[in-house]
Symmetry: C2
Subunit: 152 residues, 2 copies
DNA sequence: CTTGACCCTGTAATCGCTACAGGCTTTAGA
DNA sequence: TCTAAAGCCTGTAGCGATTACAGGGTCAAG
């Protein structure tokens, strides 16, 4: 299978495949005499594995760790990774629920028909942050070591 | 107020303030004779406004748009921005709820005591993605124009 | 024999920061 | 008075996970 076929088959961007290869997340595919990559079943499985993990929000370095688990070793590290991602997701859900409420309130505060001078949205945004927003910001600040896992 | 004072007072990283200035999100603070920036009340309000919007998950370009709304103009664009972010958040919550369920299932599938050969986590991860994970990936793919707003 | 579709490599852009290098200024203490 | 530390300045690079683009080679169809 050539790159574009893999891309279509697995619904993955062509460049992403090359990116994974550059990080040694997949074994290097064989090359045809003209230099074109050919992906075999093993390559495809590896890419699918990454897709699966990514769809669970697991980071690429952690995916590499999971992939490199020796079959006979104990699986504590797999547990650690899953638990860590679970906690992150739980926190994100809590944060997003707060954001949702706030944005809904903002949305309600405008009838769409006035000038922005009278607009509840603009007024509210200009007002000082409420206390629980500071809490949110602090949560984000604690996230320093995990830059890829902010609320955004 | 000098940079470090603003940083402490508003609980914002020192460099972030300069970053916002570089994007013209705040008016350029006055300079002392030695070149040091001094932040006045207006500067502080602008930074607070950005913090507030950021805490709601609004992107910097959108914050700029909100900031530039003329007082007398109508506030349709403010509404559009809020509604857009609300929809994004609602979708993210749905996605994260799915991820949570999946990771919980994964977590349950391992007793922590076996080898990774027998580990339910590793086994499940290697298995092919289920259909609703593909749905998730598609949602992400549709996010192309909003790279800062992926699930991560 | 040219056009277009595909492949290759390397590198820059994205977003919202954060960090660092290399240099100036100011303040406090020895 | 000297010096060290803290704070400021600028410009630039790094993060993570892609995506895009420039500049080139290869291949099949018309």
């Amino acid at each position: 299978m050539l790159r574009s076929q893999v891309s279509t088959f697995l619904e993955i961007d062509i460049e992403t495949i090359r990116y994974y290869e550059s990080l040694n997340l997949i074994t290097k595919p064989a090359r045809l005499s003209n230099g074109y990559r050919t992906y075999n079943d093993k390559n495809l499985e590896e890419i699918k594995f990454i897709q699966h993990c990514r769809s669970l929000g697991i980071g690429l370095e952690e995916i590499k760790a999971l992939k490199n688990l020796k079959p006979a070793s104990d699986c504590t590290s797999a547990n650690v990774i899953i638990e860590k991602n679970l906690k992150l997701i739980e926190q994100k859900i809590l944060d997003l629920n707060l954001l949702q409420i706030q944005l809904e309130n903002l949305s309600k505060s405008c009838s769409t028909k006035g000038t922005s001078e009278n607009c509840g949205i603009v007024k509210s945004l200009v007002k000082e942050s409420l206390s629980f927003k500071k809490t949110l910001l602090k949560n984000k600040a604690q996230d320093h070591g995990h830059k890829n896992e902010s609320i955004q």
